[in-house]
Amino acid sequence: MARPAFRRVDRPEEGGLRLAPLDRDRDLVEAAQADPARFDALYRKYVAQVYSYAYYELRDHHEAEDATERTFMAALAGLRRFEERATPADGGGASTFRVWLFQIARNAVAERRRRLRRRPEAPLDAAEALPATTDVEGDAARRDDVAAAMRAIDRLPDDRRRAVILRFVEEMSTPEIAGILGRSDGAVRVLIHRALRSVARDLGDTRR
């Protein structure tokens, strides 16, 4: 059963301060726990994030789709066991459901990566898939920038790469990343800081 956690919300139109659930997904999670058919709302909310994370890690659309499917199937099956663990320190926008979901995704992706290591690595064609505009030169430059950034994070050690993807692509907070990776907040900050130093060196090299 979810532990009650609330935050104060300033709602002048409702007569000032009121209490609201701390976890922003609480209503959706409780609805899905009561009726699994209502899991669809959570799925729609997070499918792109999970897929994007899986694609960065696996660099293959089919593998990313497979990992995404495994993640959501496992989440649906285990939703009744999910417990909200939000604390006031997590902030108003926290979602312990998202952390839990990405823990499942991390495991699904890790399992696929272990299998893929025994196969040739897929080519980096992500930048080519970016939508084209009428600015041909601008598009080419943008594709170069994206490809360089993706190559730079590809060269990072696993834990640093994951932290950077979750921070920059999924725009997660440090406490959320710490929850997913099973590290302390301080350790995640140091991981990202060191990763940025490596990427800075790498991008500097590629620009010369």
Partner: protein, 159 residues
Amino acid sequence: MTWAPAGRDSHDIDALVTDRYLETLLAAHARGADAGPAPAEADPILRQTMTRLARDLPRFHPSFRFEEALADRLAAAAVRMRASTAELPTLTILPDGAIRIVPPGDLRVAMGRPLWIGGALTSAALSLAGAAFLAWRFRRPPASPMARAVRAVARARLS
């Protein structure tokens, strides 16, 4: 020598400064602001790198076809889950070995030995076979004297 408060070394401090800058930068991106945050004490090279990564790392979206297909599979799984957790009728074996199907909420089952047969609606054949086997076991004379004694005590309690 770098000054650092107790319990934190210079790496932690640098990482904290970078984290704060990044928080502001990503918040500006989320608002759709063009300009990044005002220059802070974060390393200028790292600031440039953070700006670049925030700008250049795209979020990939699954195909519409995949998204809808997975939504359908999840919906089907949800229906199966709902069916498996719904209230099922109880198969009750009476003291004389007869089988009785009791609807949910019928409290008269106290006189018999209730058995929950999971998934009775979806695997009715298996459940009925199991119930028939249990009924046969109840009717069959016990093999050992101890089993006969136990069953006699159970019958005496139920009657």
